[in-house]
Symmetry: C2
Subunit: 156 residues, 2 copies
DNA sequence: ACACAATAGTTGTTATAACGTATATTATGG
DNA sequence: CCATAATATACGTTATAACAACTATTGTGT
């Protein structure tokens, strides 16, 4: 029984109190497992998950580039220090930064050829990662998981 | 429809590719939301979630204390630097450290009265947090979420 | 008994999380 | 037009994530 397994992992002898704790701990542990696996997948590319996510966003913006602020808004998980993350991508030669002529507060970020190449080279391993780890669930189970997670988030 | 809502959040126009990405992103975003809320709940106690988790573990070990290594093994989410986390709890006067006489490699960690008190004062707010956020799901939905998360983790 | 392997904790280090402050620029309202 | 508020990015700082190397201690095999 899987609850016993989680309790064994946590070396917990008493029932979850409140019962909601079980789902919460499960979420924490499952996310951690997947995030760790993701980081391992991206490590050979010299990127953290957030860096790759940002690079993908910049790449998708095409020749127009994208403002820093918008990168931050579009990242899957929050990055409180977008500036320095972009610093590090600039150092790696994967993006370039240019102040906008129209609004001097704004810095637009552009993908470099090296950045574009790196994004593209990681697409397949990333796809494989997702199929491998999430694919253990059937389509129906995935749909159900999505429904539950949306409910948790949007509280409809 | 909630998929459109996630896509709007991610400013994504094309379908999830692979479809597994949707569940993966949902997991990331849901965990982040809950972790952020948890951190906010514990902030008034001057503790991060991992610190509180560690304190709970030490508190549960009673007068015998618990070895550092075991704390690390029992934490819900991995802490790669248990030593320094315990340093910080020691600084806060919440735990004490003593080298074991039986095996000089081992440091046992003991709760202090202040630590015990802090653990206990946070129990109710934490319980409330869990009921409030996870409780949006029915018991059946929670059971289903657990089933899916166990499946993802244990891949049975 | 002794050499080496394994173990537990610590330390050094870099990257990132996270908050708050600083600076420059633009928007707004009178 | 001008003062102030709002906005975007950058910077200062502390805590933590994370890895690897180090030190001391114990376990193991010969």
């Amino acid at each position: 029984m899987t609850r016993e397994r989680l309790m064994r992992e946590l070396i917990q002898t008493r029932p979850f109190d409140p019962p909601e704790a079980e789902a919460f701990f499960n979420l924490l542990k499952t996310e951690e497992m997947l995030s760790t696996r993701l980081a391992e997948t991206l490590k050979p590319f010299g990127l953290t998950p957030s860096q790759y996510n940002a690079l993908r966003i910049v790449n998708g913006s095409g020749v127009e580039g994208i403002p820093s602020l918008e990168i931050g808004e579009r990242l899957i998980t929050r990055v409180p220090d977008v500036t320095r993350m972009i610093d590090r991508l600039v150092e790696k030669g994967l993006v370039e930064r240019r102040r906008s002529d129209r609004d001097r507060r704004v810095v637009r970020v552009f993908i470099t050829p090296a950045g574009k190449q790196l994004v593209e080279s990681a697409v397949k391993p990333l796809r494989k990662f997702q199929k491998q780890w999430i694919g253990v669930l059937s389509d129906d189970d995935q749909a159900e998981l999505n429904r539950l997670l949306y409910k948790l988030r949007y509280r409809d």
